[in-house]
């Protein structure tokens, strides 16, 4: 916490969890079935818990969540992508939870300041990954329509996956090795789901490293406005 590099690492990982938590929370009241709505909300709450721990390492969690401008957020562009249809949400979950499980698994084995959090969170994230995998298999290997939608979702989010493996300052893991493990794991799920592993680049020229540097995609501003407007309208309100 004393060194700035660690603060920036906690911010990056915390923002990933916070932003994805908010996106998943947007499904409340809208999910295809009640059971799935509860499942997505549970995942959102797990992530929110992680975000609170990580952001508290940096400063006041409420100030960080509600009073920062878009450019001050350090989350991956992947997690801010709109929910889209259910297949998009599941593809985003598959890509991110696989990444998070590998990352937290490695952090939990280390001695760093994130080891405690990671050891606890990796169990939660293992369930998130299982949930995404189960749905990817069913949608990919389901009907023609579900296959087509899942395929489109995996394809369209692929260009945001490269950013996950750009080293984060203060997070001491083997990023290249993690990328290989991620690709192997995701490819295995996609193959079993009868889906093609997308062949395109894992980052566009304009996306490289962007989220971690505070550059975000168009929809993120609207998401932040919704997330922050209540707190900004009533500063310091409690109940």
């Amino acid at each position: 916490m004393t060194a700035t590099v660690h603060t920036s690492a906690a911010l990056a990982l915390g923002d990933d969890a916070l932003v994805l938590s908010h996106r998943l929370g947007e499904w409340a009241g809208l999910a295809p079935v009640l059971e799935e709505e509860v499942a997505l909300a549970n995942i959102a709450l797990d992530l929110l818990g992680q975000a609170r721990v990580l952001l508290s390492m940096v400063g006041d969690e409420d100030e960080l969540a509600y009073l920062r401008e878009e450019r001050a957020f350090r989350n991956l562009q992947l997690v801010e992508q709109p929910n889209g249809d259910f297949a998009h949400t599941i593809a985003r979950q598959l890509y991110f939870s696989t990444y998070q499980r590998l990352l937290y698994g490695r952090l939990a084995e280390g001695q760093g300041e994130f080891a405690g959090l990671a050891a606890k969170a990796v169990k939660e994230v293992a369930y998130h990954q299982d949930h995404a995998e189960q749905w990817t298999l069913r949608l990919g290997d389901g009907t023609d329509l579900s296959h087509e939608r899942m395929s489109r979702a995996c394809e369209s989010l692929w260009r945001f996956t490269g950013e996950m493996f750009l080293p984060v300052e203060g997070v001491d893991v083997d990023w290249a090795g993690m990328k290989d493990a991620w690709l192997e794991s995701v490819s295995d799920v996609l193959r079993r789901a009868t889906l093609e592993v997308p062949q395109g680049p894992q980052s566009g020229a304009w996306t490289a490293g962007a989220g971690r540097q505070g550059l975000h995609t168009e929809s993120f501003g609207r998401m932040l406005a919704e997330m922050q407007h209540l707190h900004r309208s009533h500063p310091g309100a409690t109940w």
């Binding site: 295809p32 009640l34 549970n42």
Partner: protein, 95 residues
């Protein structure tokens, strides 16, 4: 949010080792694997259980309310049917 396509499942949760699975509720799911996961999300998120069973509701044969009397009202004048003559040793739980 009606899901007419998805079958109904009954959920049984074992709250601790040594206890039986107890009916917790029901849910909709497309198959057994997802029923198990939905059950985890709906019924065991707060440490309520150590084991879950899911059973298709259609597989359950239930007694009918019409048969209530012959099924459930044994003659009370045959005390030897009721295990009331034993002292339960101290420290025995869940009996």
């Amino acid at each position: 949010m009606t899901n007419t396509d998805w079958p109904l499942w009954e959920v049984f949760v074992r709250s601790r080792r040594g206890l039986s699975h107890t009916h917790a509720g029901s849910l909709h799911a497309p198959d057994a694997e997802l029923a198990l996961r939905n059950a985890r999300d709906l019924y065991t998120r707060r440490g309520e259980g150590v084991s879950i069973w899911v059973v298709p509701s259609s597989a359950i044969t239930a007694s009918s309310p019409d048969e209530k009397d012959p099924f459930f009202e044994p003659a009370a004048d045959k005390p030897y049917r009721h295990p009331t003559f034993y002292d339960i040793p101290e420290g025995v739980k869940h009996l």
